[in-house]
Amino acid sequence: MLSLWQAIRRVGRVAEPAPAGPAGPAPAAAGELAGSVQVRHVDAGSCNGCEVEIGAAFGPVYDAERYGARLVASPRHADALLVTGVVTRNMAEPLRRTYEAVAEPKAVVAVGDCARNCGVFAGAYGVVGAVADVVPVDAEVVGCPPRPETIVAALRLLTGR
């Protein structure tokens, strides 16, 4: 316990200073959410590269939570879906259901190139399409995998902070 205390004292604040707020049009839902976005992550067929980056985005260094975003377990609690990967056949229906389960107002963020336009998996036999082919997408995050900063920036668009 003591060593942990010492570690806390030694490390101090890890989070990097907040960069300037992202520019660009905020999704429609952002106004009503007003600084609080609960996020439910859906892996629609990802290679898990995006997941690593999402983890980093919510880690101490990038600290997405400071902008009012928080990962939750249930789509009922969520305001936004963070969808990664191409939408595979098996995940198309679950993705649709997850989207249905979220209460209005809601937003969908497609994270990574695969989610945006199928990336390298485009045309593969098990792929239904990009996220936008299945559910309406409000924001996109570019990259393969995307950098944590861009993920945080997309979330900040939603929270407006």
Binding site: L95, R97, E104
Partner: protein
């Protein structure tokens, strides 16, 4: 039936308010004579029994209309109710014993009523019959010993003669009576009949037994210990208190891990009677220690808890009967989702469950609060025994309360909410109006006792005070105010405050929330397709954590059986899991006894070998022995 119940209830209420009457019928019951004598204490039990009989009777009308009752049951039920009401009215030992056995006989007929449907009924009937018989013999011996110095068997004479009883005889009488009456009240370790017989009887009979008949066990303890024998030493009551506490904890623990709805309710009866016995024991202990005011308080708590228990147990058993009628099952693991199909039954069961789990504003909360007040204020009493017993008593009650919550959340939540777990539950239909009327009446009583216990409490306090020679311990109209110690509780205000709170929350949400239409959506199934009932938690799985926690006490028997595919040991074809929760007290105490009986029977058969020489030899040897004895003793 209903009329008899009503008559009993009215007579009881009249007697509770102080109008005593008595009648002697020496011509009846040869050699002994019958004598009835109703005093306020009898009145309480008459009123409770009568009220339960009214509700159960109305329910029975419905059950008969549905063809649930056979002619034998229809004939025995009024007799049972009659004898049930006569027991507290008895004014002499002979009369009490007569009515008691009459009650045993009629209830036995009722318990085995459904013997054709389930083999367990016969076994339950046997347990019930034998233990009742044993209990009766204990009561008979105890009461007759108590009546030793008395001129005759009337309670008046016994009361007068109790002073001449030697302490040893009085203690013997009390302990034996305690065993007898305790077994009727389901006191551990004399309880095994209860969770067997109560579930196997038709439900309105279960209600009568569990809500009215068990009370008479407590009646007996109070009548003999406090009234006839005039109190007695402290250790008697410590015994009562400890046995009560053990019963309460053991009963509710078994109920908490059980999944048979009616058996669970039966064990809950053991628990509640245990609590009442704790209160009675505390009363006796305080009285022996000279603190009459607290004794009165404890006894008041006991009487009130008897009443509330009668009310909610009637609701619960009758609702369980309604469910059983609709689904043919009392296994919680196969129920669920009854809310939409049986709304009235569900609501009634909910009221009963709330009362039973001793949460405010439930009915049992008030009585348990009174009991806790008595125990807490008793701690300053001198002596090591109270210092040890009272905290343990409180702890037992506390543990009981917690487990009761778990039990009834399970019974209500698993049994009535959620989605149906079997086709029978999915196809259930609400019971007929007569059955529902019976349930509803009892539920109303629950609500009334929860909100307005102050209507009956002063009367009960008066009666309790009269028994322990103290002033009434409770007064108040809106709030329950304790006399002699500080303590005040107002269930009415509590309900009002909760109502105001609810209204303000609803108002606040209306005010603050943006108006959006409430959307109906499918259950969140992780996106993986519809949830099936097999994915739901069952009563067994619900209770699994508790069962693990208390495994040291419960000693469950689990059996996991994995069968593999023929091709490979690594491919599992099926996993079967079985869990049995044998009653441990029963296994430790009764199994050896039964074994001994079997051995006795086997060895005893050697007495009749069929040899005429041996038979003659018995006489010859006896004759020679007696003659030799005559020679020696000349």
């Amino acid at each position: 039936m209903v009329a008899a119940g009503l008559l009993g209830a009215v007579a009881g209420v009249v007697a509770m308010t102080g109008t005593a009457w008595s009648v002697a019928l020496p011509g009846l019951l040869p050699l002994t004579g019958l004598e009835f004598d109703v005093d306020p204490l009898s009145g309480v039990f008459l009123a409770v029994g009568g009220a339960v009989a009214v509700a159960a009777g109305i329910f029975a009308v419905g059950a008969t209309r549905h063809g649930l009752d056979r002619p034998g049951v229809q004939a025995a039920l009024p007799a049972f109710i009659g004898s049930l009401l006569l027991v507290p009215a008895a004014g002499s030992i002979g009369t009490l014993l007569w009515c008691w056995e009459l009650m045993a006989l009629t209830s036995l007929v009722l318990v085995v009523a459904e013997h054709r449907e389930r083999p367990a009924v016969a076994s339950a009937g046997l347990w019930y019959a034998v233990m009742t018989h044993v209990g009766f013999v204990a009561i008979m011996v105890g009461m007759l010993v108590a009546a030793g110095p008395a001129e005759d068997g009337s309670f008046v004479a016994v009361r007068a003669g109790a002073a001449d009883l030697s302490p040893a005889a009085a203690s013997l009488a009390f302990l034996v009576c305690l065993a007898g009456f305790g077994s009727k009240a389901g006191m551990v370790p004399l309880h095994p009949w209860l969770p067997r017989a109560h579930p196997e009887a038709p439900s309105h009979v279960s209600a009568l037994m569990s809500a009215a008949m068990v009370n008479l066990g407590v009646y007996g303890v109070v009548r003999v210990g406090i009234d006839l024998l005039g109190g007695g030493p402290s250790w008697w009551w410590v015994t009562v208190l400890v046995l009560g506490a053990v019963s309460a904890v053991y009963g509710i623990l078994q109920a908490a891990v059980g999944s048979d709805l009616k058996r669970l309710l039966g064990y809950s009866t053991t628990e509640n009677m245990g609590l009442v016995l704790v209160a009675v024991g505390a009363c006796g202990m305080f009285a022996a220690g000279g603190d009459r005011a607290l004794a009165g308080l404890a006894l008041t708590a006991a009487l009130l808890h008897l009443m509330t228990h009668a009310a909610f147990k009637t609701v619960l058993f009758l609702s369980a009967g309604s469910v059983l009628h609709a689904t043919g099952s009392r296994d919680l693991d196969a129920l669920g989702g009854l809310r939409s199909r049986m709304p009235v039954t569900t609501a009634a069961f909910g009221v009963g469950a709330l009362s039973a789990s001793a949460l405010p504003p439930g009915a049992a909360f008030v009585s348990e609060w009174l009991l806790l007040q008595a125990l807490i204020h008793g701690l300053p009493a001198p002596g090591v025994v109270p210092a040890v017993v009272l905290p343990l008593g409180v702890a037992a009650i506390a543990l009981t309360a917690g487990l009761a919550v778990a039990t009834f959340v399970k019974a209500f939540g698993i049994g009535f909410l959620g989605r149906p777990r079997s086709g029978a539950a999915a196809a259930a239909t609400e019971s007929g109006p007569a059955m529902l009327a019976g349930i509803g009446l009892a539920a109303l009583a629950c609500v009334a006792l929860a909100v307005g216990p102050t209507v009956v409490l002063p009367t009960l306090a008066d009666i309790a005070g009269g028994l322990v020679h103290a002033a009434p311990a409770v007064t108040g109209t809106v709030a329950i105010e304790l006399v002699g110690v500080t303590g005040v509780l107002s269930p009415l205000l509590l309900v009002a405050a909760s109502a105001v709170g609810t209204a303000s929350v609803v108002g606040g949400v209306r005010l603050l929330a943006r108006r959006r239409d409430r959307r109906r959506a499918r259950l969140w199934d992780c996106g993986a397709g519809p949830l099936s009932a097999r994915m739901e938690y069952t009563a067994t799985s619900f209770a699994e954590p508790l069962q693990r926690v208390f495994d040291g006490v419960l000693a469950s028997e689990q059996d996991v059986d994995v069968s593999h595919h023929r091709e490979s040991r690594y491919l599992v074809a099926a996993v079967s899991y079985r869990r049995a929760l044998p009653d441990r007290v029963e296994r430790r105490l009764y199994t050896p006894l039964l074994h001994a009986m079997t051995t006795w029977g086997r060895v005893g058969r050697g007495l009749a070998t069929g040899s005429v020489h041996r038979y003659l030899g018995y006489g010859f040897v006896t004759l020679c022995g007696l003659l030799a004895l005559l020679v020696v003793t000349r």
